[in-house]
Symmetry: C2
DNA sequence: CTGAAAGCGCTTACAG
DNA sequence: CTGAAAGCGCTTACAG
């Protein structure tokens, strides 16, 4: 697998490597004669030349590589975000490196180091709990970074997010108006700001009502088991109940519980879930869900990062998108 | 974002860059004195040195990068394969570049070019229809490649696959013995060898029985619509019927049809699907499915590729794994 | 219109 | 025990 280099082209076309480089990069500015130009192009084609991006990167001090660190790539939300980011990155000439840290700060740190060694021009990250140290190091090095989905409480990095609190309030409002005896919020026991926002929005609306509300908060591991156990303990079918699952993982676990216990939706219990996932569509009832504008978020994140790369600034702006409540038939 | 280089270390520690390089790469062979060694390491740490892999790659003529081209990353099968490959690649010191060509040969070709320019040491690919040209070019350049899941009819590339024909025959045998009036095979109208194998295995077993069989073959786009339409036309609930969905996408579309039409499984119709996906678990009946040994396949593919990289050979061996039929309650 | 030369950050065979 | 130097494949300011 010996690859042709511009040196080879230069030798065969009997010109200098400089000239080859100019022609190949279309930087001649009409300086090079048509004859040499076509000769060079022909030779390049005939020996199957492909540029060595590594060499170019070294010289140019930029790789046109972007690193993406998601919290969990097996989550449909993140895999869809990744696809959209890849498309957008490509449009701006970047190649995307994808890493999943699986909510593990050690793995998060390792990925930042890996990407850094790989000389990525910047990173799009979804911070996980305890990833602050690794992130601060990047900030200190003035590494271009942009957050997505999640954000940091104490640091103002540029990033994209949704109106978590607001949309939760809307959902809750919708449920409150339907006159349920009880509304159950299913969320995570976590410090992640965007998730606390979802909880806050819900709480605020509940506070203004006189409806009884319960909170089921679970750890980030063993989601299925914990959701099942807590639903067992908290779901009282003698009451007219609505459940709000604040993530797709929680939603899937909850739907699974309802299937296993033959609880029919929305006859016996109503529900709303966060995010969209293919799995919702195999549930016997159409699931009402919160849809995030993935494409717009992906596009904006790449744009923000590109800006950071071209002109580094410390006070990044955070862009908030509006999630959309898609009403289906799972709420009665 | 000015990064420290070994030159900086050399200057501060007052040694040559050669010495720094030896120490950093632990290639001293006890040649360097402990004093200089620790001095260099201390300086490296204090100025936050991270090696520039780009420079190293250029010099060493290898990047420790592997490219993975899957047919469709939004398919759970491929995203799980990708995760497993990433883990295995990491173990051997490789970083994984992931690309999804979405069954599009143009995109496939573009990804091979992108990866090639990025100087990946090798590629793991799932060939799509009409990708032969791009693949032949790689072969001609003696680029280390390994196929996964799918394989090529006319070229013997090293690769991993499952016993498609055999497992289909087993499934069919299982259904034949249950004495259905009719068995429907749902597959793709395609030339992809591994899918034709699935069909062949089914056909062979049917031929030895006297059960009526139907084939529903659909195009690779608009899966949901086509499956719905053809099931509408072909499903006769007055007969005792079993359906065999030969991919997870087909399975999901089919399950969706059954949900939409309130057809109960296995009471009114029995079914088996290929591959595992989270969505199956939200279906009211536990779905019997074919499980592929993803981890083993991923590991073997990386191993085969690593072998190719270290010692290129043209006659690659193909490794076949055994898929497993997981019987649940969707067949009566 | 074209080329010689420096340099990006590394590694390593060679010399001392 | 340590260093000078060449070279990986490019780009580009400069000279002619």
């Amino acid at each position: 697998m010996k690859r042709a280099s511009i040196k080879d082209i230069a030798r065969i076309a009997e010109v200098s490597v400089a000239t080859v480089s100019y022609v190949l990069n279309k930087k001649e500015g009409s300086r090079i004669s048509e004859a040499t130009k076509t000769r060079i192009l022909d030779v390049a084609k005939s020996i199957n030349y492909t540029p060595n991006k590594i060499a170019k990167s070294l010289k140019m001090n930029k790789t046109k590589l972007i690193g993406l660190i998601v919290a969990d790539i097996s989550n449909d939300f993140y895999s869809n975000i990744a696809r959209n980011i890849e498309d957008e990155a490509m449009k701006l000439g970047y190649t995307l490196l994808i890493g999943s840290c699986d909510e593990n700060p050690e793995k998060f740190k390792k990925l930042t180091e890996l990407f850094s060694e790989q000389q990525v021009d910047g990173m799009i990250i979804a911070p996980v709990v305890d990833s602050d140290e690794a992130i601060n190091k990047l900030i200190q090095e003035e590494y271009p970074i942009v957050t997505i989905d999640r954000y940091l409480k104490n640091v103002s990095l540029p990033g994209v997010m949704i109106n978590n609190s607001e949309i939760s309030e809307q959902i809750c409002d919708h449920l409150v108006k339907k006159d349920f005896d009880e509304i159950i919020y299913v969320g995570y026991n976590t410090e992640l700001p965007h998730l606390l926002d979802r909880q806050d929005g819900f709480d605020q609306r509940i506070a203004k009502s006189d409806i009884s509300a319960k909170r089921i908060l679970i750890g980030i591991h063993n989601i299925t088991e914990e959701v099942h156990q807590k639903m067992q303990e908290n779901l009282d079918l003698s009451k007219k109940t609505a459940i709000y699952f604040s993530s797709n993982k929680l939603g899937i676990a909850g739907l699974r519980y309802l299937i296993d216990h033959s609880i029919s939706v929305p006859e016996q219990v109503s529900l709303v879930a966060f995010d969209e996932t293919e799995a919702y569509y195999l549930f016997p009832t159409e699931v009402s869900f919160v849809q995030q504008p993935l494409y717009d978020m992906a596009r904006e994140s790449v744009k923000l990062l590109d800006n950071q790369i071209n002109d580094y600034t410390t006070n990044g702006k955070r862009v908030t998108f509006h999630a959309k409540f898609m009403e289906r038939s799972s709420v009665k």
